[in-house]
């Protein structure tokens, strides 16, 4: 069942991404000020959306773990956080490339960028914390609490764009600001976001299965040790 879901999600992601690439490169016109370069938005923003959704799912799974004390929720939180981290890296990398062309610098120490970097570092520390704890129950507990702290920090990131608007552009998507981008140009962002979401879900399912196997191996090792 899970195997099938992984295949189906990957297939949807592949079809959608191919279709979107065609739309973005062959159909969409160049942007008025930035020319062809603006197309990176179709990767940058969906990455950020997937990363944000991942954060939310991981904190929900973490809270669910603290509530139910079922290690399966912890495995979901761990898998989702790991996949989110990959997408967070993608946001930083594509953002840097875009910034190099649009602003002339690879990195600006603007609060939004800094906050994204902070979140990326927090995810690194989450993954490091998981490695530093041996006992599964304790690992799940500590990392669940850390995930809640991380997510709260993420909320501050989310608000920061409205508080300190400096180098990073303000919200351009119509769902947040009521206009900015032409509707035709905006659509591929959402389609790409869906494709990325499918890809992320497939990756999470893969990682989740690995976590399950890891738990099984752990249990067997303990059993062997006890014998």
């Amino acid at each position: 069942m899970r195997q099938k879901a992984i295949y189906i999600l990957s297939a949807i992601a592949a079809v959608l991404l191919t279709w979107n690439l065609y739309k973005v490169f062959m159909v969409e016109p160049d942007e008025l000020n930035q020319g062809a370069m603006y197309r990176i938005i179709y990767i940058h923003v969906p990455f950020a959306m997937t990363c944000g959704t991942g954060f939310f799912v991981s904190v929900v799974a973490s809270i669910a773990y603290l509530w139910k004390r079922d290690l399966r929720y912890d495995a979901i939180a761990a898998s989702v956080t790991e996949v989110s981290w990959v997408f967070a890296t993608g946001v930083l990398v594509t953002g840097s490339i875009w910034g190099r062309i649009a602003w002339g610098i690879w990195w600006a120490w603007d609060p939004r960028l800094t906050s994204m970097l902070v979140c990326w570092l927090l995810l690194v520390s989450y993954l490091m914390l998981r490695q530093a704890v041996d006992e599964p129950g304790q690992r799940a507990r500590l990392s669940a609490v850390l995930a809640i702290f991380t997510f709260t920090d993420w909320v501050i990131v989310w608000k920061s764009i409205e508080w300190w608007r400096t180098q990073h552009p303000g919200p351009v998507l119509s769902i947040r600001s009521g206009g900015g981008m032409a509707p035709g140009m905006e659509a591929p962002i959402y389609w790409n976001a869906l494709a990325m979401a499918c890809l992320a879900a497939a990756l999470v399912l893969l990682r989740w299965r690995q976590e399950g196997v890891k738990r099984e191996i752990d249990a067997l090792r303990r059993y062997a040790h006890a014998l």
Binding site: L66, V118, A132, Q138, R141, L142, L146, I148, F149, T152
Partner: protein
């Protein structure tokens, strides 16, 4: 929170002195009052241990002076440029020296299984956390109070004119540092790599309040009006409130399970 009887709280040797005055009336205290006394007892215990041994405060102060010395090699300490980066320098010193204090907060209880005894005591996880946070806050403020004049003398800065504002910034940002540091100290206390893990977890988490503190301190030290920077005060206050509540709610899980 379970109501605490009078004998329960005074049975603990550490709580003895701190509660002696308030419990003199002889009647069982109300639960809310007992919680505050418990927090003060734990904070008092921590501060008393620190005053007697001086193990972290001496190290933190010496470390702070070393950093101040090292900074003088990074740039010309007599130039006007110092004014523009004063806030950043000061908060880096506070942050590095503070981590030494915070790292010891829970790990000093590992000797003789004191942490287990504290967890088993009538104090709840949140009370234990609040007591530790209070003690850490006092220690960090003490270190900062010593560092500030030394910093002013070494780098030729005058900050006495706007002292109340500066004190407000330091009070708010230090509280942010204290709560996150104390909570993460509880989180990492049982790890093999706790000395390594705490700074890794602590510094990224503290970047928003430190950014605010740096901006405000630089403005204040330059003698400029606060003006638009009040937004950073809002950030500091918001951060303090959010994470104080979150830490108080979640620390029980970290300590007890």
């Amino acid at each position: 929170m379970t109501p605490l009887s009078f004998t329960e709280s005074t049975d603990k040797p550490a709580a003895d002195k701190a509660t002696a005055v308030t419990s003199a009336a002889g009647e069982p205290p109300k639960p809310r009052f007992a919680a505050i006394r418990m927090i003060l007892a734990i904070a008092g215990k921590d501060l008393r241990t620190e005053i007697r041994t001086k193990e972290t405060i001496n190290a933190a102060l010496a470390f702070a002076v070393v950093i101040l010395l090292l900074f003088s090699y990074a740039f010309d300490p007599t130039s006007d440029q110092v004014r523009e980066i004063a806030g950043g320098l000061l908060w880096l010193v506070f942050l590095f020296a503070g981590a030494l204090v915070l790292n010891r907060s829970f790990s000093r209880e590992l000797t003789n299984d004191c942490l287990d005894a504290l967890i088993a005591s009538p104090a709840s996880g949140a009370q234990l956390w609040a007591g530790k946070a209070l003690a850490n806050y006092v220690l960090l403020l003490a270190i900062e109070a010593v560092c500030l004049p030394v910093f002013g003398i070494f780098y030729n800065l005058t900050w006495l004119g706007q002292l109340p504002l500066l004190v407000l910034v330091i009070a708010l940002a230090t509280w942010a540092m204290t709560i996150i540091g104390t909570t993460f100290s509880a989180m990492t206390v049982n790890l093999r790599l706790r000395e390594l893990m705490l700074p890794t977890l602590l510094y990224p988490m503290l970047i928003p309040p430190v950014m605010g503190a740096v901006k405000l301190t630089t403005t204040i030290m330059a003698g400029d009006p606060i003006g638009d920077d009040t937004i950073w005060f809002r950030l500091l206050i918001g951060y303090d409130i959010i994470f104080t509540l979150l830490s108080a709610a979640l620390v029980e899980i970290l300590l007890v399970g």
